[in-house]
């Protein structure tokens, strides 16, 4: 094996190593920890870019057999376009949020960077694994880290929200186990490619057991994705989390969606259960959009609104997945990339502008609470004071761009995403169904609602409050926002190539045979 052949496992092992090293560094060496964490994440992004380049043209699909055992028996990692894209998204997002946290939040409690790196390990593992139970393990890794991060900084709100978050996800994990084991009981395998082959061979009398297993498994994924009525925890948790954590959580909800996407592999054409669950995804997604939209409007605070925006984006993608159509999926993937980059910006910006709005008082309350019991003194206050020139302009423009992205207003990628999705939806069916019309209407109305809510908040913040007092913002807080918005801009300008990539990824996802062949070898592909 050459070094390039190992690249697919690096996004998992590198953050793990970083996490270990960070564990062994003492807490008081904040700066060292920060440097290690940032360096590791930069490396991770670099590796993910390499991976993306390697699999991007579709000629290589990395199938990495752990322990060198043959394919259906070993745990395999699979690097294809979709997983490579997700890994890169999470890396970029992590880089942005870690940088952002450097201003203050990474010191609000012990082991922040460790947890962050291990979250990345879990995320990348979940994206790359080709094994159903291994997926569970990485789900647990990322969940465990997310529990820690959600509670980072402590405080009544975080702990209350964390309690709910943990309770619900523990229940969901039980469902995951039930689902996986049921599927194993009728197919005798855990390898996803092998499953794709064996699902078609499950005898009729066992098929409902298989489908029950898959459905229960799906519920576990949908809880993470925040689908109505399983996702009430999401806005509360995201809003209560510290801002960099809320920001990185934007990709957490996408993991559930990603997992659902991977289920296509088993329930595609010729599997004997084609179209399984599509209706549920569609109507669930629809309901989720409605609920998220309502929540966006009703949210009493900006950060809760941001949380509901995550719900809307989840609902949108889920509804798209209900089409089980490569074109629509491609649109949904484009939308996913866009919202994954834009939503975190909102979480970060909220913190920056609220900081000005509450005139440090709220923050001080938080930090006092956060440091109240520690040996360390809150000695970092003076660092917050370095205000950047044109802060207000930066904040205003970023907020506006962010709002435009999230409301799906032209001309940015948010709009393009809506356009490509609707365009694909209208072309997905021979004659456009009433349900599709409803979805189109809902997508547009949800954009309007987001616009109204963001407008309301934006005017209040920038035109009423901030005018008198400009919040003090540090460069490390500006750079990540610019990075993410810049990427959205790139996604807008290079929409054509980006969509080409998404279409290829979606096509690959929907054919299945090539995935199976990549994992099990050419002979197996025919069976799927």
């Amino acid at each position: 094996m050459t070094i390039a052949d190992h690249i697919v496992i690096l996004p998992i092992l590198m953050p793990m190593l970083a996490g270990i090293v960070l564990t062994l560094i003492e807490d008081r060496h904040h700066t060292t920890k920060l440097i290690v964490s940032v360096a590791a994440t930069v490396l991770l992004v670099a590796v993910s870019v390499l991976l993306l380049l390697r699999v991007g043209d579709g000629t290589v699909v990395d199938s990495y057999r752990l322990g060198n055992w043959p394919a259906p028996f070993a745990i395999v990692l699979v690097g294809d376009r979709l997983s490579a894209m997700m890994v890169m998204l999470s890396g970029v997002l992590a880089l942005a949020t870690i940088t952002f946290s450097a201003a203050r939040w990474h010191r609000a409690g012990p082991h922040f960077h460790t947890l962050f790196q291990l979250l990345l390990m879990g995320l990348n593992g979940a994206f790359l694994t080709g094994d159903l139970f291994n997926l569970f393990v990485f789900f647990e890794v990322l969940l465990a880290a997310s529990y820690g991060l959600a509670l980072h900084g402590s405080g009544s709100n975080r702990v209350k929200a964390g309690l709910h978050y943990i309770a619900i996800n523990l229940a969901a994990s039980s469902l995951f186990l039930i689902g996986v084991s049921l599927i194993y009981s009728v197919t005798g395998t855990l390898n996803m490619a092998d499953l794709a082959v064996r699902v078609a061979q499950v005898p009729a009398e066992n098929r409902m057991l298989l489908e029950a297993g898959a459905a229960v498994l799906g519920i576990a994924f949908l809880v993470k994705a925040g689908m109505w009525p399983l996702g009430f925890w999401l806005p509360t948790t995201y809003a209560a989390a510290s801002p960099p954590v809320g920001a990185i959580f934007a990709i957490m909800s996408k993991v559930g969606i990603y997992a659902v996407l991977r289920l296509y592999l088993f329930f595609g054409e010729g599997s004997g259960s084609a179209g399984f669950g599509d209706q549920w995804l569609f109507y669930g997604g629809l309901a989720t959009i409605v609920f998220g939209t309502v929540g966006v409007l009703a949210a009493p605070s900006l950060v809760r609104m941001a949380g509901f925006s995550v719900v809307v984006s989840s609902g949108t993608i889920l509804a798209m997945l209900g089409y089980e159509n490569a074109g629509v999926t491609a649109g949904a993937l484009y939308y996913l990339a866009n919202s994954t980059l834009a939503l975190p910006c909102l979480f970060m910006l909220v913190e920056l502008v609220e900081r000005g709005r509450t005139a440090e008082a709220g923050i001080l309350a938080v930090t006092l609470e956060a440091f109240g019991d520690d040996e360390e003194e809150p000695e970092h206050d003076e660092e917050i004071g370095i205000a950047v020139p044109a802060t207000l302009a930066f904040l205003g423009i970023s907020f506006a761009v962010c709002a435009i992205l999230l409301a799906g207003m032209p001309p940015l990628s948010g709009f393009l995403a809506k356009f490509v999705m609707i365009d694909a939806m209208l072309n997905a069916e021979a004659s456009v169904s009433a349900a599709t019309w409803w979805l189109v209407a809902l997508l547009i109305v949800s954009g309007l609602a987001a616009m109204i809510a963001l407008l309301r908040n934006g005017i209040n913040i920038f035109w009423v409050t901030l005018d008198s007092e400009v919040p003090r913002v540090r460069v490390v807080e500006i750079v990540p926002v610019l990075l993410l918005l810049g990427l959205c801009l790139a996604l807008t300008v290079f929409a054509g190539p980006a969509m080409g990539f998404m279409e290829a990824a979606a096509g690959y996802l929907h054919t299945g045979t090539s995935y199976v062949e990549a994992v099990l070898g050419p002979a197996a592909g025919g069976g799927a």
Binding site: F133, K160, G162, I166, A167, L170, A171, S173, S174, L177
Partner: protein
């Protein structure tokens, strides 16, 4: 055997779910534990039941003489993760009790 185990799984799961739906955080943690017993047994059952066929290889024995080791390995992982999560939930429960002054799962009485 199958029937007994199935019934047990059912009773464990019922008791656990009942507690999961109760308002006190301590009830929830016991519920989660009971549910995880049920789930562990459920996973275990997915490998079918074999008595006195522990998958510990003896020389010359045919592989069909052993119980399915895969669900066992999965349960082992699940037990550990379950333990970790119980611990975490307990600590969060304590923190919530400390910060809110109540052991109601919503952080306030009713």
């Amino acid at each position: 055997m199958e029937l007994i185990l199935a019934l047990s799984i059912g009773v464990l799961a019922s008791s656990g779910v009942w507690l999961l739906l109760r308002p006190r955080s301590f009830q929830v943690i016991i519920g989660l534990s009971l549910v995880s017993y049920a789930v562990n047994l459920f996973i275990f059952a997915m490998g079918r039941l074999r008595s006195n066929a522990a998958p510990i290889l003896t020389d010359g024995a045919d592989v069909s003489a052993f119980a399915d080791p895969v669900p066992q390995a999965l349960v082992l992982t699940a037990i550990f993760i379950g333990f970790a999560m119980t611990a975490l939930f307990l600590v969060v429960l304590l923190a919530a009790r400390g910060l809110t002054g109540t052991d109601h799962v919503d952080g306030r009485e009713r």
